[in-house]
């Protein structure tokens, strides 16, 4: 009896000694070739909104009690679309709920932050520079009255060219708000579900000065301890992420926090668009499911319908 108790005691002691090592091992999980393992499919949804409600000022974190209240509202907000009146414009849409389309696919990590944006200190994206406002207004002016002339007048998403939220920096978006990361020696691939795969070398090479513009920019990466750091530049002028120019530069920093969570931090710099660099951080949570193909242009009946609808409207106006 005493012998068994002693043995049990030893086993418990060993288990207790091993447990933190196991947790540590998961956090320090490595690929077969020795790089930190950040691979997997992740949900981007987090309770922190992109920008901080102005009423919170410079308050970066909720207390656990405050967060519980705040999260409850975020997690139980009803779909606007569920409450629409037949015969109104809002009602002219398929049901998002029927297709389980939500930023929140039922998976998230505890995040006590009041916003994703942490820089500047007020948690809000800096205002556009005068130059950026002028660009935006000039573009709107060239399109005024011509919004449905041809496919080139429509948004990048309607044209199935690009979902801006899948370009660096990747941010949570309306639905299919997930990304996946694959690793192989020398490369990391990061891909938003509705975006293009970005193949990022890990050898720490510098970004060349004379980059050819690409819709997704060009990315290079390096390991900084447990953190994968990606630098992206060389954007296509029409990518215009949140109104930015082709000179926008983005830094992403991805770190595994535990078995289920990565930390995704980013900064954005474009002096022609924002007077100061800005950035933020949010958790990526293991989705527990697969991402599926998003072949957009292949199934884009909508573009044809939009244009034919516009043409019919013009014919009716000409011949009432």
């Amino acid at each position: 009896m005493k012998q068994q108790a002693a043995t049990a005691g030893v086993l418990v002691a060993i288990a207790m000694a091993i447990a933190p090592l196991c947790a540590q091992a998961q956090k320090n999980a490595r690929t077969a070739w020795g790089d930190p393992d950040i691979s997997g499919a992740y949900a981007e949804f987090t309770t922190a909104p992109l920008e901080r409600d102005a009423k919170f000022g410079d308050k970066e974190f909720f207390t656990p009690a405050e967060h519980e209240e705040f999260a409850k509202v975020r997690l139980t907000q009803a779909f606007d679309a569920d409450d629409t009146e037949p015969g109104t414009q809002e009602d002219v849409h398929y049901s998002m709920g029927q297709f389980a389309l939500s930023e929140n696919e039922g998976v998230t990590s505890l995040n006590l932050r009041t916003s994703i944006v942490t820089q500047p200190k007020n948690g809000r994206i800096p205002p556009l520079t005068a130059a950026a406002v002028a660009r935006r207004d000039a573009l709107a002016a060239t399109r005024k009255g011509k919004e449905f002339d041809g496919p080139e007048m429509r948004s990048l998403t309607e044209r199935c060219i690009l979902w801006p939220s899948t370009v660096a920096p990747i941010l949570p978006r309306g639905y299919n708000s997930n990304l996946q990361i694959f690793q192989s020696p020398g490369y990391v691939i990061i891909q938003g579900e509705m975006g293009d795969p970005r193949v990022v070398p890990t050898d720490g090479r510098k970004l060349p000065d004379n980059l050819l513009p690409q819709w997704n920019g060009t990315s290079v990466g390096r390991w900084d301890g447990q953190t994968f750091v990606i630098e992206t530049a060389g954007f296509h002028p029409q990518t215009a992420w949140r109104g930015a120019t082709e000179k926008m530069r983005v830094t992403e920093r991805i770190t595994r926090l535990d078995e289920d969570t990565l930390e995704y931090a980013f900064t954005v710099t474009d002096p022609d668009t924002w007077a100061e660099p800005w950035g933020g951080v949010y958790p990526l949570t293991a989705l527990g499911a697969l991402l599926y193909e998003y072949a957009c242009t292949e199934g884009n009946y909508g573009m044809a319908n939009i244009l034919s609808g516009a043409r019919k409207g013009e014919r009716e106006t000409a011949n009432p």
Binding site: G150, F182, Q183, V199, A295, T297
Partner: protein, 271 residues
């Protein structure tokens, strides 16, 4: 003396082990499997026509010699594709209408196996769980589940791929294709019932042999196989540039719905 013997034995063993007679050891991944990682491209006319073909006029005559179809010996084992009679007629109709109907012209993903031998590079990334392929054309992406057993829940353009190692050959079974892609610019095609079995075998550090067997009894009288070498891009930085072709296909797809009197934008940067 024994050291020389040992080295000789090792060299002979390496010779014997490599059936293709290439006297270079294969690069291997951390788990011992041949490492197919890298950027690859086919160098043949399979993308024009899988079958043997003579040269031909360009589909738009004004394009002249630049876009004429070069001749090709074909990549089909046995020469021609064993179509069922009605299916061959369908293929011939595809060919007649290729200018409007070829999905490639609309920037649609090339599917499998066409994406492998389109005249654009693709990159293979490999680890123990997955082999991932990223294609330059239409930024197509494919995940191959190593030792995967699940079935496709949904049809897709690039299909559902389960792969396994058979010795030093990577065998991939592709199902769940939607039947909307073609196999080449000549209108050769398979339906959504097709099962494609690919075999990737590294012949040496810079050559990857590619085989694909197409099994589709609704279109063909028997399964048939294509075979070709793929060549590694050996530049210091072989990463390819992005080729998002969607804007270039817009006029082709939607031009007939444009507002009368307006013109499509042209040039490297539309608008």
């Amino acid at each position: 003396m024994s050291r020389i013997l040992a080295v000789s034995v090792a060299l002979l063993a390496a010779c014997a082990a490599n059936a293709q007679g290439v006297l270079t050891a294969l690069p291997r991944a951390a788990n011992g499997r041949p490492d197919m990682s890298g950027v690859w491209q086919a160098l043949n006319t399979a993308h024009w026509n899988l079958e043997p073909h003579v040269s031909a006029y360009p589909v738009v005559i004004e394009l002249g010699a630049q876009f004429a179809v070069p001749p090709g010996k074909g990549v089909v084992e046995g020469g021609t594709i064993p179509y069922l009679p009605e299916a061959r007629a369908q293929r011939d109709q595809h060919f007649e209408n290729r200018l409007t109907d070829d999905p490639e012209g609309k920037c649609y993903m090339g599917g499998v196996p066409r994406s492998t031998y389109m005249p654009y590079p693709f990159q293979i990334l490999q680890n123990e769980r997955d082999v991932v392929m990223v294609y330059q054309f239409a930024t197509a992406f494919r995940r191959i589940f190593v030792d995967g057993k699940e079935e496709a829940p949904l049809d897709s353009w690039m299909g559902w791929s389960n792969g396994r190692w058979d010795g030093d050959t990577f065998v991939v079974e592709v199902t769940g294709l939607n039947g909307l892609t073609w196999l080449d610019r000549a209108g050769n095609y398979a339906s959504g019932s097709a099962k494609i079995t690919e075999r990737y075998q590294l012949l040496g550090p810079n050559h990857l042999q590619y085989e694909a067997t197409i099994d589709d009894s609704t279109v063909f009288s028997r399964p048939w196989t294509i075979r070709m070498p793929l060549y590694r891009l050996v530049d210091a930085d072989p990463r390819f540039l992005e080729f998002k072709c969607e804007p270039y296909a817009e006029e082709k797809i939607y031009g007939h719905l444009r507002k009368p009197g307006t013109a499509a934008p042209v040039g490297a940067s539309s608008q």
